[in-house]
Symmetry: D3
Subunit: 337 residues, 6 copies
């Protein structure tokens, strides 16, 4: 029972607990009801059909329930599926919390929280520090739990914090290399840029867009929160530092066709946008590589212009190259060329 | 002295009061200072060079001053210009108010104000009525004075109100023909959609973008004011009617590449966008036609994809066709085909 | 038997007359013939498979036949379908006219004809009046019966007249608000702009493109008819009013990439294009809203850039807002702000 | 006096007859009138200013006049110009015909006419032969005199015939290599595709767009003529061969954004479009090469996406390579690789 | 047994040898294994399912095997398929060579080789002649065997040579009509432009992209081979004729977005690109026409912007029109118009 | 004499040594020769006209000469210019080296060379190390002297090394944050990606494109050098590590429309492209900010989509924010929110 859903190989016998993510009643061509189910745990999703479903089955197996499923790992048109032999709800003493069955960032909540605290300390410009702290007073919990998206990059629990803090780390490295950049503005922008997602999305489980999310959008929603924070803290909407922070957040999609109402027009806005793209593409490419064997090409990644990526043969090559040159072999620079 | 600047013909003697819109010190190729001036009155702009400018002239003739200019209507590379023979500031008893020399909408402020009041009455949905009234309490004066743009359509004093009320009139006509449209939402959207321009632009004279205008943009600025209004009036940001009004205003540019952070997703948002485009194009085409003789083609209109428009020969045709068919000639419908 | 096809709910017993729109012979995986059928009536389409079809069945159930179908309203992959238990052709005394089973505009032919007559009366410019009447002498019947498209907006019987007259109504409203527009030219353009569809399409039932429709296109086809009309009436192709009417019709798609050989270059051509788009989008959005419950989002509408539209919760809101403010509560204008 | 305008080198004394193409009255900065003139002959255009122009000069030197000009070949901002020392109208015994001073195709009218006749003979399909002959009965003279454009490729007298017959030659070569192509349809399309330009443009001298040209466009204008020809010859607009010829002509711009109301949908339509592009680009590249020295890069060619083209160093290379391999050196094929 | 796979009609009994191109193990909904097979011969591909496959069947029927298949020509969702009744590997005395079962160009290898030799003779410029011969010494065999693509145009054995030589023939015809073109450069470019495909693709059977093909691309791969050839032959990379040949090959896709690192900047580069497009589109349109009955529309051709093409009714029309006008009917030119 | 050319203010007397970058002979409207000169030193360029130039002046003042210029800092149409009072060539004892008068990277050649050596040490993967060292043996001097472009970003002496090493520093920081990236491949790519510019461009002074640069382009030129290096070092072109390095370099423009023949298809290729864009945009934005006063907007930057950038008011803000929070004020993390 220790195995996760996506760890079973073709033809393995399956015996697992899982979260029901979808449960749709359908009819076979000859008109009989069956349930088209999607099972999920921390490793991902797998589908399976429950044939000859009675009305009691239909009532019982609702999305959000935790179930015990037995059967075989088969496949249909190249996609893995469960051929279900037995299915029941969990009982006393068995897992019941949906939260244990959703995919999450590879970092614990406590570690994310500690890094958030560290990052807040680094923002010493007083206006930005106060605004960011004011907003995290209200939204820290959601920030640490929400995904960064419904699909695409960082679409898993804690993805929002994982993504935002990763950008903050990049921001610190880059502002070290280009001292003309305002590090505080980049850090504040990194933490806030996607915070509107805690209003745009419904939460970490069974994530959907809210009505406000669809009608207003997360970029305007975080600006709304910034406007109210400025008002609450008695600041002036025309202060330059307030305008700059709003600008950096509003412009972070880079292009208007991607939903920013304005284009980046200060250096930090342009760079925050670039770092956002870099972290998103790293996350998507890494995800694709994890599902690809060395020497093979990945599935196409829709959000990266539908490109397929190659995973080089020699795994060792990668590991080795990230070590520095061994110290024991001194090299005479003059011999280099 | 009754003639306006653009009413002089080539070679006419000019003797006029005018507002100085630009006054730049330049050097001739041989290094002498002169002033490159732009004169303006209600009819538009005309340029002229003031040769051999002394330092006193340079200090005296600043943008914003009202001057008396004498000379000849010449031209340079096809563009009209003043060959200045005499130039002085106005004196006691002569015009001094810049406001008398700027181009304005062809409707008086009082009439616009009356139409605004009428339109507000028609918005009976309570949330929208309260929000719109709250915002016009603060911004009515600017709404009635500001242009709708720095260049392009309705770039003249009172252009904002003229344009917004014109859309409101269209909205009323269209919602009469399609009863499935919510007239109140269209009217509230028509009045508010460009109200952010009172923050984005500097005012009706020598209009420039403000820093907030460039860094935030008028679409987000009016949303900011709506958010604060909702807060001031104790409403809930999640009320559907609040979300709908914000949506309609945010989406009015229609496409994200034109600066709307979201696309229209309710019927009224789509239609408001279309009416905005219709009134803007009517204004630009009408402006182009006014400067074009019958049977001729206009200059290219940049904001209409650089098209040139044809003004039909027969002026009378137009006037006539807008009368209904004369009543005295009854026609037998059966003979029509 | 009064129920229409799309009025049955899941699991209802079906007993209905219907038009066969499609009837394709297919094989099951094991090689047996079945008929994949599409049934239609005024409410729309629904599919169903007729299993174990004999050669006699295949010969009997041809597209265009009227049938009596019995069975159950099931669904397959989320799409409604008929599980057929019994199927036969209609007999003496039962419906036989395909025309009774097709979707139509929500206005009767007589009313459309009356409105067409009224609109023709309003066109008083003699050249345009004669040309439009000449063309409607030939094509009035088709104009009143044809759809405006094979798919997309107004793809139902009488859709062509319904759409064209709706634009004429908009044209009249808009030319009232902008007197610089030539109302007669707009009205003539509204009536003729899509008339080429009576040659481009095969008719109101089982609508297909004709060879001429695909090789020439409806915009050039109506121009062809206008050229012949000018010739028949002894007019001159170089008369300005002839050129203007042809231009307005040729340019009505607005952009060359949408099939107009030229872009709008007179005011009325630009506005006719905008009104055409407005009526088409109103029709598509209204259709989407009718299939969407309050508080829900519609299916994506392909021809509106694949957008999904929101239907607001409060149905009453809509209805109410289209009434004027009640007269019994006089408001003091000075108290408005 | 034998030299043409563009054959003079910098600082040469000029003494030449020329056509006045433009003659604009302008003022110097200090307000004196001068004439900005453009002189033309078969070699091209050159500008020059006639200072201190009297009213008599202004009246005398009108566009279209033939003049005798003396002066020096100077330059202004890198562009050649005439520094005029003497200017007068031509007198008795001197050239007077504007036609002698315009740029023309490098082929005589008689030769073009002979080739047109030959090409007509080759079209043996009766419908197309009759239609093409019917149209050339009306428009042969203009076809042999008109340019193919106002600017861009083949913008010179007889350019229309030169371009159309060049495409016909390509069509013959290509249909020889691909026998699946209908040669007659390609030839008929080659001759007719741009014939609408005889209505769209004003003529070979001082070429302008006509009102019909701008409001209708040459593609629809030739279709108009085809429709009337079909009518005059008593053919049926629904005959397939009529539809095919109209289609090939309507679709010859290849893409709707370039003004074709439909895209090519028969093989010959696609190929005619490609041959049209090939001949146009050959003409523009050849023109650019003629003004470029070996080993140099041409000016940018706007209509070829603003590219600059390289003219290889070794002129001889080109000439040589177009001869076949000399026969006197037999080569053993087996030694080739 | 003489019939090819695509020559069987619906419901025909099939008895044929075929190459297995795909053989995938799948499960039915109830979990039983079957083999989803694709059979191929010179006429093309057809699919079929082999039900109830045992493990021995799965091991036996691998892609690349030659099999004997019996059954019936059925169809599934409009696509032809084999309903398999009997399947076995071929035995002694039956066909065994995969090469006999793949689609090929309609020209024999020997004829292609002879035409290649002829074309090489025509390239008399010494640098280009030596480079082209040097490369064909290494790659002639592959050139004569490889397809020109994995899918799209010329995706069949010997397609590379068939396509390249077809372009060479066009190049000769076009350089005859435009003597300003360097025929040798066009011919060398025609032969080399796609030669990188012999490295980019895996071979004529079961064609796939190689790793080098995907990471480097055929345009850079042929340039690599040219660079090494220049090096091997002791030429200078800066010779103009070397640069010109590399340029013509590098630029042959015409636009950078289609994979050329530079745009065509000499005349021959532009024309080679156009001839490449012409031959590719001719091949795709001809392929579409072959599968379309007279008077019908083809399937949509993805690589031609998803257009559908019309095949005219009158087959005879085509054949006839490619004959010259019969000599026996002398025509008086003067009577032509 | 210590002042640099761009340090003079309007109306200052100028007395400076400068490099002549351009010297064109032009004529005044009245036909007299003058020299239109561009002077340059390390601070940038300034223009000025030398009136009444004799033939001796024209012969003497050639581009590339070092001159002593006296006069006044004036301006013409808003652009600074020198009003020249005196001009002569430099004499014995005065500067004579053009290299002292060109704009350069803000880092010395020795420092760049040292950093290059350090970076080479870090590449420990043997294939890449050998290839990179082999190429730098040939091109190190040019790498350290050349600009990275003719215009746009890093268009100054040593710009190529400055830009490449800046990317290498970013690569090191980013591969530290994402250990899944192969640092060696990124570093090798950073050093080589633009090395083709030493062939594409003519050198650090009066930089022009070479013929090879225009016909082949720097991306293919560096690939050419890599291919030859692989050949010289006896490696195999099909080794995966060779393919990877070529791919990373070929793909570094990211999109084919920007000149990469292939898109990035390994993680390091995508990231190298992003880092290249980041450093280029940082350089352009920093350049724009240096010419902009606090609180002002920069000129539009063409290569950044013609955007104007804002330089915040408070210079101190920037400087301050890049310090860490002062250590003496310990903060209780629990009080942060």
């Amino acid at each position: 029972m220790a195995k996760l859903l996506l760890q079973y190989k073709e033809n393995d016998a399956i015996d697992a607990f899982a979260l029901l993510k979808k449960a749709e009643v359908r009819q076979t061509k000859t008109g009989k009801d069956f349930l088209a189910l999607t099972f999920a745990d921390r490793s991902g999703d797998i589908s399976g059909n429950f044939w000859d479903a009675s009305q009691a089955d239909i009532d019982r197996f609702q999305p959000g329930q935790i179930v015990k499923v037995e059967g075989t790992r088969g496949s249909f048109k190249g996609t893995p599926q469960v051929q279900i032999s037995k299915l029941r709800l969990t009982e006393a003493g068995e897992p019941t919390s949906a939260a244990d069955f959703i995919k999450s960032a590879p970092v614990k909540k406590d570690d994310l929280e500690a890094e958030l605290t560290d990052t807040l300390f680094k923002i010493t410009q007083p206006t930005w520090n106060r605004l960011v702290r004011h907003l995290f007073k209200q939204y820290k919990e959601q920030f640490l739990e929400f995904p960064a998206a419904k699909v695409n990059h960082h679409a898993f629990a804690r993805g929002l914090a994982f993504h935002s803090l990763s950008i903050a780390r990049l921001a610190e490295a880059v502002s070290g290399l280009y001292p003309q950049l305002n590090r505080d503005l980049l850090l504040a922008g990194a933490l806030l840029h996607d915070l509107g997602k805690v209003i745009e999305l419904s939460g970490p489980v069974a994530t959907e867009y809210t009505t406000a999310g669809k009608l207003i959008g997360h970029i305007t929603l975080v600006d709304e929160q910034l406007v109210l924070a400025v008002h609450d803290l008695g600041m002036d909407l025309n202060q330059e530092d307030v305008l700059l922070l709003r600008h950096v957040v509003l412009a972070h999609h880079g292009l208007q066709e991607y939903g920013s109402p304005i284009r980046p027009q200060v250096m930090e806005a342009e760079i925050l946008h670039q770092l956002d793209e870099m972290d998103a593409s790293m996350q998507m490419m890494t995800g694709a590589m994890e599902q690809t064997a060395p020497g093979e090409w990945s599935k196409r990644v829709f959000a990266l212009d539908n490109r397929s990526f190659y995973r080089p043969e020699d795994g060792q090559q990668v590991a080795d190259s990230n070590e520095s040159a061994p110290a024991e072999q001194p090299v005479d620079p003059s011999s280099l060329f």
